[in-house]
């Protein structure tokens, strides 16, 4: 089984509630789930959808083909109905759409009338729709009923009862009206964890003991702020909404200087404002984790859509020369782990570390059998009271063999902690002399870089070990490339290489990925941007030049069918 369900409608109609609830029911039932969303930059109206793919095998991307369409508006009929499979179903409420549709696919379910009749209020039309989808699929209602009870616990028994009646009414109607539905859901397995990329970054931050987060709201990074604010009380995190992104990064640097792990995040336009602060982090060697949520630019671009257009921006932005670390996770598990690694390495080497993602990764929800928090690392690299008091002398920017100076927490001992955005001496005081400058560049940049590179893991490999075709990607295209390899593997000797630890660029000691590429008949670099930013980085770092590319830059992510279609063009 492998079904796709799309809930289409206007912003404000509650399609997210329907989608979230259904995907949670599926994940709790034990199915593999992948969800993604498509929405416009508006609060009400327009046309949006929420799509759920549910299957009995692991999923990592969406399909174009739909099995069930819940149409809350006429635009869903115009835009989405064409994707519904022959055996599929489109459910809608003709009283709301003010139109009837004929044909075996269409099912007119009176969402609103059933809501009023059984739940007592029009508001519960969405609950009726959720029940109807479960009815079509022939699933049981018990998990939904538990979710309803949990969700409305605070609102009291009456509200719970009304919603349960509404869901049951939708369910019963769909079962009776199905007219030969062919859906069958396989046996249940153990319940799965369902998490979105943006929440996984938040989990990674909390688990890394991030204590301070300052940001200015900007899609698609705002979810990190919301997540951490929700955890502030329980985990002791100060979340500050700054007046602008310039303030956000500078606040985070202040907090980091004062001795706590700090993070900020934004999207391209907001990150552009942070760039001055980025080089301040580098010069003062203050650890910071920066989340960069890419969306199509330039300027404000497509505010709610997706692109991988800021790799070069993250790599080369800011004045002067300094080391930085760039991670680009491909799924929620990597998002959590690499956020943790960003915190660890940022503090260990006292350099800025990026977690770059995009709207697509931020919004997509994936099921995992579980996420292993025990694998996360936490080492406090700072000198605090006892370690500091024992020192006869302390210099914040002391020369060392590794280039990493001891980082003290101000106020914890009699030693003072001095740092400066100007070139400075070992004490942190402003200097002008050439000799100190040379030594400081050596310490800050040249000594640290090779050490940081040793921490970078090779790209992820999947597929045929002696592949004719190798697909290469980075960041959020991980999932769809993997599914394309899976789908084509019965016809082709095909494999993928996915880069999530991007800079410093992975070395080849552990895995000679260039040999793999060199032996392939064709290596295709797949990117969600127009200019092949990763391909350029790869050429600059390794000399390897791709002969083929697939670039998508319309703001929409690839579905499996779309990518496979593009690949057919290239490889026949």
């Amino acid at each position: 089984m492998d079904y796709s369900i799309r809930i289409g409608g206007e912003a404000g109609q509650g399609i997210q509630t329907v989608g979230d609830t259904l995907s949670r029911v599926f994940a709790r039932t034990g199915y593999h789930v992948f969800t993604h969303q498509d929405y416009e930059s508006r609060i009400r109206g327009g046309h949006n959808f929420y799509q759920i793919r549910v299957a009995d095998r692991p999923l990592s991307a969406a399909r174009s083909r739909l099995d069930i369409l819940v149409a809350f508006d006429l635009a869903s009929m115009d835009n989405d109905a064409a994707f519904v499979a022959e055996q599929g179903r489109i459910i809608y409420d003709s009283a709301v759409l003010k139109q009837k549709f004929d044909g075996p696919t269409f099912r007119d379910v009176p969402f609103t009338a059933l809501a009023v009749e059984h739940g007592g209020s029009r508001i519960m039309a969405n609950t009726v729709a959720i029940g109807a989808v479960l009815g079509l699929l022939g699933m049981e209602m018990d998990i939904l009923l538990r979710i309803i009870s949990d969700t409305f616990q605070k609102k009291g028994e009456e509200v719970i009862k009304a919603n349960i009646s509404a869901a049951a009414a939708g369910y019963d109607f769909a079962v009776k009206d199905c007219g030969g539905c062919s859906f069958s859901m396989a046996a249940r397995a153990e319940q799965k964890l369902l998490i979105a990329g943006i929440d996984a970054i938040g989990v990674g931050a909390v688990a890394s003991d991030c204590k301070f987060y300052a940001a200015y709201p900007m899609t698609p990074s705002t979810g990190i702020m919301n997540y951490l604010a929700g955890k502030a009380q329980q985990y002791g995190i100060v979340v500050e909404q700054a007046e602008d992104e310039i303030a956000a990064i500078n606040m985070a640097l202040g907090a980091s200087y004062a001795g706590v792990r700090a993070m900020t995040a934004s999207s391209g336009g907001g990150f552009a404002l942070m760039v001055e602060g980025l080089s301040l982090a580098a010069m003062t060697e203050t650890p910071i984790v920066i989340g960069l949520g890419q969306r199509p630019g330039p300027a404000t671009g497509f505010p709610t859509r997706t692109e991988q257009g800021e790799l070069q921006f993250a790599l080369y932005t800011a004045h002067g020369e300094f080391p930085r670390i760039i991670f680009a996770p491909g799924d929620p598990e990597q998002a959590m782990n690499l956020t943790n690694k960003a915190f660890d390495l940022s503090e260990k080497y006292q350099v800025p570390a990026f977690v770059i993602f995009d709207t697509y990764l931020a919004d997509t929800q994936w099921t995992h059998a579980g996420l292993d928090l025990d694998k996360l690392v936490y080492t406090d690299y700072r000198l605090r009271a006892d370690a500091l008091n024992g020192l006869s002398e302390y210099k914040r920017h002391a020369y060392t063999d590794t280039g990493v100076s001891p980082m003290a927490v101000p106020g914890e001992s009699r030693h003072v902690v001095v740092t400066d955005s100007d070139e400075h001496d070992e004490d942190g005081h402003i200097v002008e002399d050439a000799e100190t400058r040379k030594k400081m560049v050596g310490k800050r940049l040249l000594k640290k870089m090779p050490l940081i590179q040793k921490e970078i893991e090779p790209p992820f490999f999947y597929g045929d070990a002696v592949a004719d075709i190798v697909l290469v990607g980075w960041g959020s295209t991980y999932g769809v490339i993997k599914e394309a390899v899976y789908e084509l593997s019965d016809r082709q000797k095909i494999a993928m290489l996915h880069f999530s630890q991007i800079f410093p660029f992975p070395g080849r000691d552990a895995f000679d990925y260039l040999a793999l590429l060199g032996n392939a008949k064709k290596a295709i670099c797949i990117e969600q941007n127009a200019t092949g930013q990763f391909a350029r980085l790869m050429r600059a770092e390794t000399g390897f030049e791709f002969a083929a590319w697939i670039n998508r830059y319309d703001g929409r992510p690839f579905t499996v069918e779309e990518l496979v279609g593009e690949l057919h063009v290239q490889i026949g």
């Binding site: 319940q191 964890l193 369902l194 929440d199 989990v203 909390v206 688990a207 003991d209 204590k211 301070f212 300052a214 955890k231 502030a232 009380q233 329980q234 985990y235 002791g236 995190i237 100060v238 500050e240 700054a242 007046e243 310039i246 303030a247 956000a248 500078n250 606040m251 985070a252 640097l253 202040g254 907090a255 980091s256 200087y257 004062a258 001795g259 706590v260 700090a262 001055e276 602060g277 301040l280 003062t284 579980g370 996420l371 928090l373 936490y378 927490v409 101000p410 106020g411 001992s413 030693h415 003072v416 902690v417 001095v418 740092t419 400066d420 955005s421 100007d422 942190g428 005081h429 402003i430």
Partner: protein, 283 residues
């Protein structure tokens, strides 16, 4: 207890006769009198001649970017609100480049003491107009004179209900010391605007110019009356009041954050046992 010697820093690279020297001396005297030791507080500064201040002292220092002093200071306070945090800036640094941060820091009200060395000119970049330069002043890059209205930091601060608004003068060290002390005693964000001459570039607002005009607010002046304070903050020209123009007892930002009520953030150690709960909501 600290001694003046504990605060010996680098030799200042300021112009001879700069008002900054007396501000530096007054500050050192004050912290020694208060018994503060160099490791017990942090000075944050940005860019400009005033921003070099902490290098000519000895204390915890974060000398960052032009105009970005207050966000860094806020971050430090939120991470460790047991550490007194002073911010030192010039009029260009704080009222120009950092204007947005000043506005919002006054609104947020972290317990930071901001000392603005206000010489009404850009010294480090050699004599351009600052936000507090008198309208009409001709500079090398403004041959037709400054068109913009002169910024009134006192009126701005009163308008924003800034917790502590004071003005002093580098040529009146006793007064300056009393203002530094009052600011340190006050709980909440403090703006102390310190009038000072720039001997190299400001030929209008000289030491003499200020001396002839500044006067102490009379003892019966009530700085808690906001409407009267606004009236006094508008006074500029022949007579310029110095002293605490306005103060209130708003809760500080730190006091409003429940997470740090019992303990500063920097002293809260991670609780590994709690992490198990993190993933529960995703099932």
């Amino acid at each position: 207890m600290s001694r003046l010697d504990d605060y010996k820093g680098q030799t200042p690279a300021w112009c001879p006769g700069c008002g900054n020297f007396s501000i530096l001396k007054t500050f050192k005297d004050t912290v020694v009198e208060l018994g503060l030791e160099p490791h017990q507080f942090t000075i944050v500064s940005g860019i400009g001649q005033a921003a070099k201040f902490p290098h000519y002292l000895k204390c915890n220092t974060f000398n960052g970017l032009h105009g970005r002093t207050l966000p860094v200071a806020t971050g430090i306070r939120l991470a460790n609100h047991e550490m007194p945090v002073f911010a030192v800036a010039g009029d260009g640094d704080c009222y120009g480049e950092g204007g947005n941060h000043l506005i919002h820091t006054m609104r947020k009200n972290p317990n930071i003491k901001l000392f603005v060395h206000d010489n009404q000119v850009y010294g480090l970049t050699k004599g351009q107009a600052s936000p507090t330069t008198q309208e009409g002043t001709v500079t090398k890059n403004l041959p037709f004179g400054v068109f913009s209205e002169q910024l009134n930091p006192m009126a701005l601060a009163v308008a924003l209900d800034c917790s502590f608004v004071a003005r002093s003068f580098s040529g009146d060290q006793d007064h300056l010391k009393s203002m530094v002390k009052a600011a340190i005693d006050h709980k909440g964000f403090c703006l102390v605007d310190i009038l000072q001459p720039c001997v190299s570039f400001n030929k209008i607002n000289t030491h003499e110019w200020y001396k002839q005009r500044v006067y102490h607010l009379e003892p019966e002046y009530d700085p808690t009356d906001r409407v009267k304070a606004f009236e006094r903050s508008l006074q500029w020209g022949d007579r310029i009041p110095i002293g605490i123009i306005y103060r209130n007892s708003r809760l500080s930002l730190e006091e409003r954050i429940p997470i740090i009520h019992d303990m500063p953030l920097v002293k809260q150690s991670p609780d590994i046992n709690k992490l198990g709960d993190l993933l529960k909501e995703f099932y």
